[in-house]
Amino acid sequence: MVLTVLIAVGVVSSIGAGLAAVLVVSEHFFNDYGPCSITVNDEKEFTVDGGKNLLSVMVGEKLFIPSACGGRGTCGLCKLKVLEGAGPLLPTEEPYLEKDERESNVRLACQVKVRDNLKVEIPKELLAIREYTCKCTDIKDLTHDMKQFRFELIEPQSIDYIPGQYIQLLAPVYEKSSEEVYRAYSISSDPAEKNGIELIIRLVPGGICTTWCFEYLKVGDQVKLNGPYGDFRLSKTDAPIIFIAGGSGMAPIKCMLHEMRNTSNKRKARYYFGANKVRELCLVELMRQFESELAGFKFIPIVASRDEEERWDGEQGLVTEAVERTLKDAEQCEAYLCGSPGMIDAAVEVLKKLGVTEDRIFYDKFE
């Protein structure tokens, strides 16, 4: 009886092990496509061992292609153009590609297997995305639930970005989270300063990354982030600007204002900044300084409801109400909005009512 069991277990395991060995050996043998060269945008070229999917190869070369599902082919974000060597379109890619995309050779990087020399085209912005190792050098309280963090870049040492773009900060595994997560935050620093960045972060109750930033991150700690991403940016026109922001929506607008000061931009600009209470207004002094340095700039803080003991003689009510009350020349303006989805939707409504066409409203929704 015992013998039968032993033989049975032995036979099944050895056949199983034998088959597994055959598979491993043949995987090694069949999956060896030799070295393949990949040319990106006709400028960067590198050689990799074939057999892996294009997405992992690109990430291995520190070219960050956006992807939310991690290469399982379910998010459809890792689109890029493969001009040569990708083979025919796979059924797994079809659902994610529009007709014009198929015609222009757009593919899902995670589904394309590198088996030949490839010619790849990715948007220029993606080429500039890097992973940065940084050191936290300063944490400043702005309000009771907003902090300003400064990071000094260690490797690589400098960053180029367009004001309005964001980075993804990596929150490591810590007591309240068992996995690494990336969260997006807009850059708020002066773009002239290339060796560091500054973020304005508002505490999200229960949020994995913000809780880590507020309770665990200390000055001197090393963090990882990657970027820059996003196409929220100032246009090159001379149209008067309306900035509308609330809470940590301050960040990209502050960055844009630094840029305007650095380039002595003479565009007329008004900045409506909304807060619930007077004590939730932040960086007012810096904004006043911008007002004195930028001829056409005006900062309009708005407080939704004043506590009895607070002194406030500025605008009161909702940001959208203040915009509606004070904006006269809306038709010629361009609007730049940043904040919570609720605020942005309401502001877009009001702006449209005042005559700002949709193609002149730009926004960055924090979702």
Binding site: V12, I15, L23, S26
Partner: protein, 200 residues
């Protein structure tokens, strides 16, 4: 049995496996992919081809393992596990080889191959081959015939479903409901073959 009589027996088994004892329409094995992938002929064709190939190859492979390893050791009761492991490994291997040497074929079969691992008609063919005590040569006929039978059934179903696409079907019966009813009618029609051949 002599070689010639083995061959003619294999031929009979081959034809009966296609028509009178169709593994799908008389045993209702492999229904899940049959319903899932029969919406259009192109996909059904790819899956059907893959089934023919895998079914023939795995039933032969399993015949060897059963008669060379399991039977002498008295481990016949292990055949379920063994067969499934072998089918899974074989499908993996075939996928790799096709991917390497024939990208166009891989393109055609690619997504269906892994699906086949869990197609119960494949396991069913191997188990019937044991129960009915087929010899190696007869198993060739049986595996190939069952595969072709399954292929025929899914192609026929896909053809019918393509025509049905524009018909007005009561909403409660749309999709799998009407497909099962059609499968039942097809099975009835296939009973008509029963008088043609006295299958084994």
């Amino acid at each position: 049995m002599s070689f010639t009589s083995q061959m003619s027996y294999a031929l009979v088994v081959f034809i009966s496996a296609i028509f009178t004892q169709n593994i799908l329409l008389s045993y209702f094995l492999g229904l899940c992919p049959f319903i899932g992938v029969s919406r259009e002929i192109k996909a059904a064709f790819g899956l059907g081809l893959a089934v023919i190939f895998v079914m023939t190859a795995t039933s032969l492979l399993n015949w060897v393992v059963y008669h060379v390893v399991l039977e002498p050791l008295g481990l016949e009761f292990f055949r379920f596990i063994m067969f499934i492991i072998i089918i899974a490994a074989f499908v993996q291997l075939v996928e790799m080889i096709i991917d390497r040497y024939s990208p166009p074929l891989y393109q055609r079969l690619g997504v269906f191959l892994p699906l086949i691992t869990v197609n119960c008609a494949i396991l069913g063919a191997s188990l019937f081959m044991v129960i009915r005590d087929y010899s190696f040569i007869v198993t060739i006929g049986y595996g190939l015939g069952s595969g072709i039978g399954w292929f025929l059934a899914i192609i026929a179903m896909a053809g019918i479903r393509q025509r049905l696409a524009n018909e007005r079907i009561p909403c409660g019966l749309q999709g799998p409901g009407i497909t099962l009813i059609i499968a039942g009618l097809m099975a009835l029609a296939f009973i008509g073959f029963a008088g043609v051949l006295q299958g084994s």
